[in-house]
Subunit: 485 residues, 2 copies
Amino acid sequence: INVFAKVLYEFVAEPGNNELSVNEGEIVTITNQSIGGGWVEAQNSRGEVGLVPEDYVQRVSGLALAGADDDEWDDEWDDGKSTGGYTEEGGEGGGLNRGAASMKISLNKFPGFSKSGPDLYLLSKQGPKGKEKLPIYRGEVGPVWLYPEGQLDCVVADPKKGSKLYGLKSYIEYQVTPNVSVFHISAAFGPTLKRLSLPAADLLGRFEEEFIKMRMERLQGWMTRMCRHPVISSSDVFQLFHSYKDEKDWKTGKRKAEKDETVGVMVFSVIEPEETLPDLDLLEVEQKCEQFSRFTKAMDDGVKDLLNVGQEHWKRCTGPLPKEYQRIGKAFQNLSSVFNSSGYEGEATLTDALTAAGKTYEDIAQMVAEQPKKDLHFLMETNNEYKGLLGCFPETIGVHKAAIEKVKEGDKLVAASKITAPEKITMTKRASTMSYALQAEMNHFHSNRIYDYNRVMQLYLEEQIKFYETIAEKLRHAHGQFTTM
Amino acid sequence: INVFAKVLYEFVAEPGNNELSVNEGEIVTITNQSIGGGWVEAQNSRGEVGLVPEDYVQRVSGLALAGADDDEWDDEWDDGKSTGGYTEEGGEGGGLNRGAASMKISLNKFPGFSKSGPDLYLLSKQGPKGKEKLPIYRGEVGPVWLYPEGQLDCVVADPKKGSKLYGLKSYIEYQVTPNVSVFHISAAFGPTLKRLSLPAADLLGRFEEEFIKMRMERLQGWMTRMCRHPVISSSDVFQLFHSYKDEKDWKTGKRKAEKDETVGVMVFSVIEPEETLPDLDLLEVEQKCEQFSRFTKAMDDGVKDLLNVGQEHWKRCTGPLPKEYQRIGKAFQNLSSVFNSSGYEGEATLTDALTAAGKTYEDIAQMVAEQPKKDLHFLMETNNEYKGLLGCFPETIGVHKAAIEKVKEGDKLVAASKITAPEKITMTKRASTMSYALQAEMNHFHSNRIYDYNRVMQLYLEEQIKFYETIAEKLRHAHGQFTTM
């Protein structure tokens, strides 16, 4: 059974690079989904086969090709989106977005503070009722979130296939097990099993398993990151997801969550900087804001650069390089079998050694081809996740900037009787809360980033060391068989 | 100063492979002679730069381009050829002969037994006078040469540039030091220094040194191989070359050597199988001959295959692969400097570690690029030498086959009174001598081959092991700098 895909953007193959040129709207057959590194192998209608960036194509079912409406599915999942941040859209979510990106919400996209301007919050009449406040306190590095004692966590496992729309749409359901026993709010509940489903695209054949595993890892990474975030993990809907026991619970909670007013920019209304933190100096705030902005942009560039380099390297490691080691291995073995036909006595030691050396290079070929999945994969997944996170900052910083501008206009607004003097004071205080929240968020980001990059580099280098050591060991073994006595 | 080269054969570049298409007769500028692996980097008149197989081009001097006659030089060196086998023609000698080859005598070409038919020897009236006989005796593996007790040997060193034809032709003179003290015939002489000159092509600029070194290695390899061969090392001219003391000595000896009649097929007249070796059975001889022929052809294919694979691998190791490691290194360092600008406290450990990791990958890039010269080089040189040796066998085997055919016609020739009955007996005996000589030569070849391939594989694998171990060690060092405490 073929896996078809629709080409979303034109892609021009680099010559000699095993790539396939495709045009927007073209339908191709996916011949290998497990290339990795952001690539899939596809075949066009002329039978040409080559690599295409995976997010340049969108998997479609044969039935969808025959005219079924894809939007219906999207609508349904758009609905899912409003209940929290844990759904994922489209088969190509979280891929490497070379050029334009098409996902609506992908696993690597961290929810931003708000898309609307800051006014709603800055000028709102009253704070939220009965909401527990999220404090910001003065840490060693500056303003920081208060982290809950028992951190929310969950384990994503046990993928199961399902289908809906009379079999037209298949999806994968993952089991999510929250560690609610240590959850500081819902500690009363024992661990419960939840099933979270994601559209499965049209996964068929022998690559399915690997593909599902990769998506499961991404979901796990995303869930863990959400759990680690004190603001998100304390949101009603997130807690509901972790603590609900049955369908009824979920529906009630969902309805309640839909009425939650502390969404968007109003999230700042539940944030409360501690008394010890003074109101901020506007100029200083603007400078900090500028620094965050520069940093996130620079990191975005750096991360994308690393992803591009990794993608190229991935292709070489899974394509031409192992082929070459294989050819070297074959050439040694070939020479060995020629020598074996010499009829000369005392040939066996050399021919055995040459065969062993040849097989060693064939082993190396396989190791080279499999290595990216062991190391580069995680390096790229982490950077991909960060690319998504960084994509949220411009909006967050933008809302904050708008708030600062509003405060600057404060006196003018009072003079024009647009706001009262006490309102101006409230507005200034709230802008200060936003500033502290942004700083706490940046510090949260930095501390996570330092941990994450240390961790992923350790993993990467550990696997690289193992790789080179194993090769050296194999070669040492092969070397031992030659003799010049 | 530019090094120009004339394109000898059309070469069509493989796309995306950093190659340059060139046409026969085109003049290109050599921009890098030290690529190695059978490649040079050249620039055409349109300014395009890329790799071209080194034996597809012939270096020419600016003066030669301006109309100087190259043949004059060749003639002079043709003269040199007649005095022995130790001169080398042309700047491109010993290169990888992809496609047609153009050299006259290259360093890797072993002198064959003869180009003429076997009749001269088979039907000659008398044997050579006063010549020491070269025995063939029955060894463990069959007929073998008698190896002299003290083997002739020499050291090639100390290259010096010189010029002739009023500076139009430059050459490199190498100092050849024979170990005549252990030479079984000329032991009376103490070690003397000889200088052997080779045309230098037009070597200019920074690659000269490396190029001269490579040619010196080849000359050394060729001299050693000649010294190791009992028939060649016992030839008058070879001994003269090793033992002469002054110009006069050399000229006298050369004149004498030019009168030597035991050249070409007559070399068999000084070969004498021991009494214990019976006259050979014709059918058996033909079968052995057929086996030699098959083996040398198969090995020729195997060697060429390995050379092609090696050439491709060389190009990748010195081209795209190190570039990629460099890009990985740069991406890590780039990310490190971005992180360094975060303004977040406690950033230093990660940024230092990332910088170190980046530098490590830059080191690896350099190691990858330099590695072929440390290992692949010797593997290719050895196979190149063997390609040359194998190229001589068809002729040798052909002469031998012709001798067998002649013997088969023996009775007919006697009946037609073309030869006498005693001449037929002599002819049969001499054909048997040729058969034993061929077998001794094959056994000589096999035993040398087994030693040489064991040796070169040991060298290759030793360097490969060192390479991978050094990388692992470097990475271990980089890994140690990351921390997730």
